[in-house]
């Protein structure tokens, strides 16, 4: 068998670097935009309860621009490697991006300027892109028989995404057509809970089962615990949604408590992984990952307080911030710190040529700066929202912006170093 034939079969699951790269690059930029918007409109943050404002744009630039964008890039890149099945179509991956990016920009503009026409156009593009993404992932997961934990949780994420898209469509239509929903706020909250704990949360759970043991060189996590966490989270989401949509508080609270249990199980599985790890020095990325693990249950507890009507002006916005920026964004940034240089190194593999070293692709100083300022931003904005002090929110957003810029510098270092390595490497020679 010729070497080239062998490589074609084995490597076909690794997409060209430009496909995941474009998603990651945009995610890095959207993080800068999101913190910038929060800085610019910090006065509106304390007591924020929804509505078409620049804060809603900032929120969606994180959820869609950073989290979903990265989730798509990572899923297109890693899922085929993990499931041993190539993605159905590279063109479809590119189409997802080119529908999603302009859609998100339009959506953000429509939200910030209360322009319902642009909002509707952006909404259609974003929903179409995410539906295409969900189809591609479902197609890849469809024939996988092993990796039950990952696939169970990914299926819940795909199901949650389908429901989110329906609710998002209803919300956009409600704005564009003049308000036909009996309780817009309840549907918006259901959409938010599904997005944070359903789609993105379950994707984070699923990726954790592959990535965390890989990062810290540990045996795979407890499968039963992981499956139970996934199922419990699914049940929690159903109860919380029913409670929100039908206005039944006990159901919502029960959903929150079950969600807390699911988070506890997931964290227990992760704690076991950490305990059995071979790699003891995990670096700054795991400071962020550990912080996110703490903030996951904290966000649910604060959400429960808001749902129970305990100082909702303070606990409501605080819940949103802790869940999106505290849990999901922090976890994702911790993972990205590790995985971007790793993926770049994977893409530098050529026959007969040493791949680019992960350590050479990692920009330590900007990442350290990012970690410190990101954690500072979380603390300051949380305190500002809890105390209804907009100056503190502004200070925190400024710290977040510095962190996001530092992260962008480190990501640019990865891209430039990879390009330099590929340009300097000798051309591969084919051999039998």
């Amino acid at each position: 068998m010729l070497f080239g034939d062998f490589m074609m079969g084995a490597r076909s699951r690794l997409l060209p670097v430009s496909i995941p790269g474009r998603f990651f690059a945009m995610a890095v930029l959207f993080q800068v935009l999101a913190w910038g918007l929060l800085l610019g409109y910090a006065d509106d943050a304390p007591g924020y309860g929804g509505g078409l404002t620049h804060l809603l744009t900032a929120l969606h630039f994180v959820t869609l621009g950073v989290l979903a964008m990265t989730g798509m890039g990572a899923a297109f890149q890693l899922l085929p490697v993990a499931t041993k099945r190539p993605v159905r179509s590279e063109a479809a991956c590119k189409a997802t991006f080119w529908l999603f990016l302009p859609g998100l920009l339009a959506l953000g503009h429509g939200m910030g300027h209360a322009d319902t026409t642009i909002l509707a156009v952006g909404g259609v593009l974003v929903v179409t892109a995410l539906a295409l993404f969900a189809f591609l992932i479902a197609d890849n997961l469809g024939k996988v028989k092993d990796m039950r934990v990952v696939t169970d949780q990914a299926w819940i994420a795909v199901g949650a995404l389908a429901l989110i898209l329906v609710l998002a469509g209803l919300l956009v239509a409600d704005y564009a057509l003049g308000g036909f929903l009996p309780d817009h706020q309840a549907v918006a909250l259901a959409h938010g809970v599904l997005a944070v704990y359903g789609f993105m949360g379950m994707l984070a759970f699923a990726f954790s089962f592959v990535l965390i043991p890989m990062f810290c060189l540990a045996p795979p996590p407890d499968v039963k615990l992981g499956q139970r966490a996934g199922w419990l989270a699914g049940g929690a989401l159903v109860l919380a949604l029913a409670g929100l949509v039908h206005g039944i508080l006990p159901l919502l609270l029960l959903g929150g408590l079950l969600g807390l249990g699911a988070a506890g199980m997931h964290l227990r599985a992760m704690a076991k992984v950490m305990k059995s790890r071979m790699r003891k020095q995990l670096g700054d990325s795991f400071i962020l990952i550990r912080a996110a693990w703490v903030l996951l249950p904290v966000s649910i507890l604060v959400g429960l307080l808001a749902a129970a009507g305990v100082m909702p002006q303070r606990t409501g916005p605080l819940w949103g911030f802790l869940a999106v920026f505290g849990w999901l964004l922090t976890f994702l940034l911790g993972v990205l710190q590790r995985i971007l240089p790793f993926l770049a190194s994977m893409h530098s593999v050529r026959p007969g040529v040493k791949p680019a070293l992960v350590s050479a692709l990692t920009a330590d100083k900007p990442l350290k700066l990012h970690m410190v300022f990101h954690l500072l931003a979380l603390a300051l904005v949380s305190a500002g929202l809890a105390g209804e002090w907009s100056w503190l929110v502004r200070l925190g957003a400024a710290a977040g912006l510095i962190a996001a810029i530092a992260y962008a510098i480190s990501a640019a270092h990865v891209g430039l170093s990879l390009r330099k390595h590929l340009n300097s490497a000798p051309q591969p020679t084919e051999k039998a």
């Binding site: 070497f3 062998f6 060189l217 540990a218 795979p220 071979m278 994977m346 593999v349 070293l357």
Partner: protein
Amino acid sequence: MSEALISLDLRPLLAAGTDPLAGVVEQAGRLHAGARMELRAPFNPLPLRRVLARMGYSSWPEKLGEGDWRIQLIRDGEGKVEGDPDPADCAGLPTGAPIWRDGQGLHIDLRGLPIPLPMLAVLRLLGSPESQDDSRLWLHHERDPMFLYPELAEIGWVLEPKGQGPEGELLFLAEREGD
């Protein structure tokens, strides 16, 4: 069988999440030919027994109860690994990847292992005293271990695909840089 020179209970270490491999290998290396050793473990530690077999230890497992195994070893130079274990009994092991040596060098079979056990098994092997003198490691796999290339490069090894065997087996060669 006469009394063991060394008796090691691995259960507390494993319960605390500590890998006992290095400690056991160190103790085993100090014993003279013909010496006996006894291990207690919550499972049948097949890879550990294989490592000790390469140091000349033959071993016999005995299941005393649920989660309680006694492994008796003797340094007879033959390195027999007797007692075919039920794979389920090895579920708690860090890797479970078969390792052997032939004229081509050191081999490890990673087929059937879930992510990230293949990577863990290879890095453990390359970090163990048994492979210190090896500069080539053959990997038998069922997929291109994409995650392994960066990790090996970082510790000075280069991995290259070497072809395809029967039943979808893929063969890779890891070589220490500079050799």
